[in-house]
């Protein structure tokens, strides 16, 4: 069992196994795995909400830096993490930045700096600034969600929601069972697409043909999905699911002092950043 895993008396006795199949084995420094999923969601929430209103580049840049720092320290450094942090996010920030720069109404921006001039069309420095502020803002919000996203498993989130938020377990664990549907549906969709291609259904190119094609996949996919869900429901009923108001929790996802500390610290840092950078370009 990893040092970060929640322990109950019984799981400690059987400590040779790790219940979280997708959990990354990591050192103690990678502290994000050890936090309650709800803490990791609650901590960046106020910052994410306020960032929506920020208009400058400095505020989102500061939060982007904060999120990167937390992720680089708190999550095991894998190829996937590197790809997300150093490829996907910067690239999407660039694309969104240029996109918004082009899209911005040129008459409403600062026209003192001319970056390019192609024929009668001018790209002003002001437009570029607005565009990149938007790109940074969206990247910062995404990076903040990654704090929970890259260090939490679905089952843990459900368990925390049931144990701390008092979400009814019938809903939580049904959602957990539904996780298993996803790969199955993916496979089924592949087969349906193959079968329809063989039949030559809705040939042709263009968005309308594609729309018609996808519509054709829905009926068989839904029919299969509903039948499967009914069977799963019967199998769960047959194993006493929902028999009592609560059920045994073998895996406790406790809320500990460190969770409170993390949330409060994050909120404090957020407040300090927002205060220092006020008025965020508004």
């Amino acid at each position: 069992m990893t040092d970060t895993g929640p322990l109950s008396a019984a799981t400690a006795a059987h400590s040779s196994f790790d219940p979280y199949t997708r959990r990354v084995e990591a050192s103690r420094v990678r502290f994000l795995y050890g936090l309650n999923p709800l803490a990791k969601l609650a901590a960046p929430l106020p910052a994410m909400a306020l960032l929506v209103f920020a208009r400058d580049a400095a505020t989102p840049a500061a939060f982007l830096a904060l999120a990167y720092a937390l992720l680089l320290v708190g999550v095991a450094f894998t190829r996937r993490l590197a790809a997300v942090l150093f490829l996907a996010l910067p690239l999407s920030a660039l694309v969104i930045g240029f996109g918004f720069a082009l899209w911005t109404d040129a008459s409403k921006v600062d026209q003192s700096v001319v970056v390019w001039q192609i024929g009668g069309w001018t790209m002003y420095g002001g437009a570029l600034e607005v565009g990149f502020a938007t790109g940074l803002r969206l990247s910062a919000i995404v990076a903040l969600t990654l704090i929970a996203g890259l260090s939490t498993t679905g089952p843990d989130l459900v368990r925390a929601a049931v144990q701390q938020l008092r979400v009814p377990y019938r809903i939580g664990y049904t959602a957990l069972a539904a996780f298993r549907f996803v790969p199955r549906f993916g496979h089924e969709l592949d087969v349906i697409r193959q079968a329809h291609r063989v039949r030559g259904a809705h040939g042709g190119r263009g968005p309308f043909a594609a729309l018609a094609r996808w519509f054709g996949y829905i009926v068989p996919l839904m029919a299969g999905g509903i039948r499967h869900a009914e069977r799963v429901a019967l199998a769960m009923d047959a194993r006493a699911f929902g028999a009592h108001p609560d059920r045994t929790e073998r895996y406790l996802v406790p809320w500990r002092v460190r969770d409170t500390v993390f949330v409060l610290a994050f909120w404090l840092v957020s407040a300090a950043l927002f205060a220092a950078l006020f008025p965020w370009g508004l």
């Binding site: 006795a13 063989v198 039949r199 259904a201 009926v219 045994t248 073998r250």
Partner: protein, 629 residues
């Protein structure tokens, strides 16, 4: 064997069940008891209500599945209509057909713990129960793995462990091996044998694969077609004593028993009636060949099976040369060379991962093969467009629903003709003709999804053939179906085959292969291990073992038979003496479809099909539908 006078664990009295929306009750009226520790097999023809009955035993029906119930079911003295399912779950554990539809959690251990957790047991007890259950089915060592990584047989053993962990004294299994390959079936029955040997659980088993099940069973309960109880007694009394009667009713019997019934017709005594390959073998070794009156083998088993044109004068319909296929990063087929003759009924068999599906998908262009490697009627599949392909080769997917693209049965068939830009009048005529031919004329205006299972399957075969394709390729068409429906489909395919359509089929059911396919392609690790007449391939036990396959039950009984070397090479029921009397055309019995050796050789059939073998396929033809002329 437990004493039947013991206090019954399960009491079923005059049970009748009518699903909401249905008019007839199935089962109609059934009464029987199960004592603690007893192992009972529930048999009955398709539609007699066996699965429905199992759902009533733990109250899922009528509590979760709406239905009208008459009579009563009591478990441990509790009325299953009034007691909540959750409470009954500690008395009755259920294992369903589809292992994937019973998985809820992310690890093997969590899965088994799921039930006891719902019962609010203390953690230590949950883990103790989970460990005991997993050890009984041999999965304890794999407790940390994701259930998805288990084989089909492994997942079904997990479902059994999950039911065991509920601690219920009665275990109900509804066709637990219908979705499994032969290796998976063996695994599941090995696990069940452990449970039976421990003797602490009563078991009610609904199963079509009797060859595996019959060795475990104490008692047999039989329903008839209308859902009434017709037999309840020991294996000896019911299966051995009334085998002929059950067989006539459409109840599936072990292959060894069907074989023995045939051999009796040929004059063998074979008493008591054998039920397993081992019993049949022992009985045959103990008995001399009967008087000549009984007749000999219908013909030497080495005869070219009907439909295999061995003259070699005609070019093959499908040629495969140096076919190598990649899926993602791995090569799944390596340099396949293969010829398939016109008019053949070819089975493609092999262990899991041998490349069976990849091969037939490449033949039909479902997955594009490299250019120049696969030719069908001279057309390069790698270069052909979808429309040309569909007039050469039809592909039937495992689940017919996946193939349906139209809103009515009529349009479903007509689609293939409209694609060829035929005049609408001709489309209508040919579509109606084909619907009549497949018994779907009255359903022309229905939505394809509202058809019954068998009708859906026939429609999917029809859609694949309507464009005039002389070859039909099917991927595991019998997977997850009961034997009656599987047999109905195979009968249809055999009929199409007799009329000239070449059939290529992938299946795990070795007995089915030996009964129907005249040629077999044996794949192993993406290569053709052997290709030849089915009877020859299956007579070579070492070869079958090398492919990672199990010989079909009849082979297991007959291979190496010392007293009757004439029988030692027989692989199919129809090659047994006594088989050729009065060929029946019933679609319900495995021995029903008699390959009639008197049939005109299939070399004659290309003439029947000239319409499809011409060089200009899309040209309007006066023929009705290709393949079903």
């Amino acid at each position: 064997m437990p004493v039947s006078s013991a206090v019954p664990l399960l009491r079923v009295r005059e049970l009748g069940i009518t699903h909401d929306g249905e008019t007839t009750a199935a089962p109609a009226s059934v009464s029987f008891d199960i004592a603690p520790g007893e192992v009972v097999l529930l048999l009955g023809p398709s539609g007699s209500g066996k699965s429905t009955l199992t759902l009533a035993l733990n109250g899922l029906l009528p509590q979760a599945v709406p239905a009208t119930v008459t009579g009563s079911v009591e478990v441990d003295g509790l009325d299953t209509q009034a007691t909540p399912v959750a409470e009954l779950s500690t008395r009755v554990g259920m294992v369903f057909q589809d292992p994937d539809a019973q998985l809820v959690t992310g690890t093997v251990l969590d899965e088994v713990a799921f039930g006891p957790e719902n019962l609010r047991m203390p953690v230590a007890q949950v883990l103790a129960r989970a460990e005991e259950a997993l050890r009984r089915v041999g999965l304890w060592e794999r407790r940390l793995e994701n259930p998805d990584r288990l084989s089909g047989g492994g997942r079904q053993r997990l479902a059994i462990a999950s039911a065991l962990a509920m601690g219920s004294p009665l275990l109900v299994l509804d066709e637990p091996t219908a979705n499994l390959d032969p290796a998976g079936i063996e695994e599941v029955y090995a696990a069940l044998a452990e449970v039976v040997a421990a003797g602490d659980r009563a078991i009610l088993l609904v199963e079509h694969n009797l060859d595996a099940a019959v060795g475990l069973v104490d008692r047999v309960v039989v329903l008839d077609h209308d859902g009434f109880l017709v037999a309840d007694g020991s294996v000896d009394d019911v299966l051995r004593g009334r085998a002929g009667e059950l067989h006539a009713m459409g109840v599936w019997l072990p292959v060894s028993t069907i074989a023995a019934l045939r051999l009796r017709r040929a004059g063998f005594g074979l008493s008591p009636l054998p039920l397993t390959p081992a019993e049949l073998r022992a009985a045959l070794e103990a008995e001399p060949w009967p008087d000549p009156a009984g007749g000999s083998l219908p013909a030497a088993s080495g005869i070219p099976a009907p439909g295999s044109p061995d003259d070699g004068s005609e070019p093959p319909l499908i040629t495969v040369r140096g076919l190598t296929l990649r899926r993602g990063h791995s090569e799944v087929l390596h340099g396949i060379d293969l010829d398939i003759q016109r008019g053949g009924f070819v089975a493609v068999v092999g262990a899991n991962g041998a490349g069976k599906t990849s091969l037939i998908q490449a033949l039909a262009g479902v997955v594009s093969p490299p250019k120049g490697t696969v030719h069908v009627e001279g057309i390069d599949v790698g270069r052909a467009d979808a429309r040309t392909l569909s007039s050469r080769i039809g592909f039937v997917f495992q689940n017919p629903e996946h193939q349906f693209i139209a809103h009515t049965v009529f349009d479903e068939i007509a689609h293939g003709l409209r694609r060829q830009h035929l005049p609408e009048e001709q489309v209508r005529m040919r579509t109606e003709e084909l619907l009549r031919r497949f018994g779907l004329a009255s359903k022309a205006a229905s939505h394809p999804f509202l058809l019954s299972g068998g009708q859906k399957r026939r429609l999917s075969v029809g859609t694949a053939l309507v464009a005039g394709a002389p070859v039909l390729v099917l991927d595991e068409p019998t997977f997850g179906q009961d034997r009656a429906r599987a047999d109905e489909l195979l009968s249809l395919l055999a009929e199409l085959n007799r009329e000239g359509t070449t059939i290529v089929v992938v299946t795990h059911d070795m007995q089915l292969v030996t009964e129907y396919a005249d040629r077999t392609v044996l794949l192993a690790d993406g290569r053709v291990l052997a290709e030849g007449p089915t009877a020859d391939l299956f007579a070579d036990d070492a070869l079958i073992a090398r492919a990672g396959l199990r010989p079909p039950p009849l082979r297991r009984a007959l291979q190496g038979l010392e007293r009757h070397p004439e029988l030692a090479r027989v692989a199919r029921l129809s090659d047994l003496p006594g088989a050729s009397t009065a060929p029946s055309r019933s679609q319900f019995r495995m021995d029903a479809v008699e390959p009639t050796p008197i049939d005109p050789p299939h070399a004659a059939h290309p003439e029947l099909r000239t319409g499809t073998s011409g060089p200009h396929p899309p040209a309007p033809r006066p023929r009705t539908t290709g393949g079903v002329a």
